[in-house]
């Protein structure tokens, strides 16, 4: 596979993967390695005692083993102020200016708040962040995020953790067609490798997922499945699929068909 550029990083894998919800820290490491992902998402939370972390070993030490680009998120933030503060804490803690900006507007389906998202994006870009906005597939919102300075957009496929795949392929196709120069990663809602293939065939630059691998019966094998799915989908996009037709057309040549008799004159 050809390498590609995400923000200022050159990557081989187009998969970005989360670090949450795995059965154990070791399974997390094995699955992330099997996925081939070079970007992993992380968060910031209160840590009241070391004992909360896997057997006394803290999450930070597991992260060091991965040697991946870290993409901290602002998960759980509901206001611009919370998100901007969390992003600044993440920048210091993880030593990166990358931030996956999550600003939740509706707790029922964890739908991003487009208005607060845009405001926080402007503020964070002014503060020097590379903002990866977790957004809906609304074209106008996405255009405004680009106007605000985003080089990357992360529209959802479906609400976080649902595994429903691409619920509105038309909206995603429209986004891809209207914003061809923007790096676009489908974030959230991916449940099966076939969903990832579908998004990659549409020309999306990458996929961000977590639950689909972490909650699979065998996370490591599912991670490998997604690794191949992204490659297959991307190659399919680069190769260019044939146009759909309404009517059947034989693929085997009709010239020289045996047992064919010209109708008697």
């Amino acid at each position: 596979m050809q390498s590609w550029t995400l923000a200022d990083a050159t990557l081989n894998s187009r998969l970005l993967i989360g670090t949450a919800l795995y059965p154990s820290p070791q399974i997390m490491l094995d699955a992330i390695r099997a996925s081939g992902a070079e970007v992993v998402t992380v968060s910031l939370r209160r840590q009241n005692s070391q004992a909360q972390q896997g057997g006394g070993r803290d999450f930070w030490s597991y992260l060091q083993e991965l040697d991946a680009h870290l993409l901290p998120n602002t998960a759980g933030c509901h206001s611009v102020k919370e998100a901007v503060t969390t992003a600044n804490m993440a920048r210091e803690l993880f030593n990166t200016r990358w931030i996956k900006l999550e600003l939740i507007g509706d707790d029922y389906n964890l739908q991003p708040d487009p208005f607060a998202l845009l405001e926080a994006t402007r503020e964070l870009i002014a503060q020097g962040f590379e903002v990866f906005p977790y957004c809906t597939d609304d074209l106008v919102l996405c255009e405004k995020l680009v106007e605000a300075g985003c080089r990357i957009l992360m529209p959802w496929g479906a609400p976080i953790g649902t595994g429903r795949g691409l619920t509105d392929p038309y909206a995603l196709k429209t986004l891809r067609a209207r914003l061809p120069e923007i790096t676009m990663i489908v974030d959230a809602g991916i449940g099966a490798p076939s969903h990832a293939v579908q998004a990659m065939e549409m020309g999306f630059d990458g996929i961000l997922l977590n639950t689909a691998v972490a909650q699979a019966q065998d996370p490591e094998t599912m991670a490998r499945a997604f690794r191949h799915a992204l490659r297959a989908g991307r190659l399919g996009f680069e190769a260019g699929a044939m146009p759909e037709r309404d009517l059947a057309q034989p693929s085997t040549p009709t010239l020289g068909t045996p047992f064919w008799q010209q109708a008697p004159q």
């Binding site: 209160r46 930070w60 102020k81 803690l93």
Partner: protein
């Protein structure tokens, strides 16, 4: 002086943020906000604390 540390009350006079972080044995990898405003490490010593201040001490955690 009453402070709120990660949502829990702490009743103790504390000179500044650096002293507080030692007192509560904050993890080495952590970032801090006071009253929802980020405080960089370089400012811990000069950040004095006041009655009712809410301090968040956050660490790296799993995320999606």
């Amino acid at each position: 002086m009453k402070l709120i540390i990660n949502g829990e009350p702490l009743e103790q006079p504390v000179a500044n943020l650096a002293v507080l972080l030692e007192l509560v044995e904050a993890p080495s990898h952590s970032a801090v906000a006071v009253n929802e405003t980020f405080v960089p490490k370089t400012l811990y010593r000069e950040t004095s604390l006041h009655e009712g201040d809410r301090i968040e001490i956050l660490s790296p955690m799993q995320g999606g």
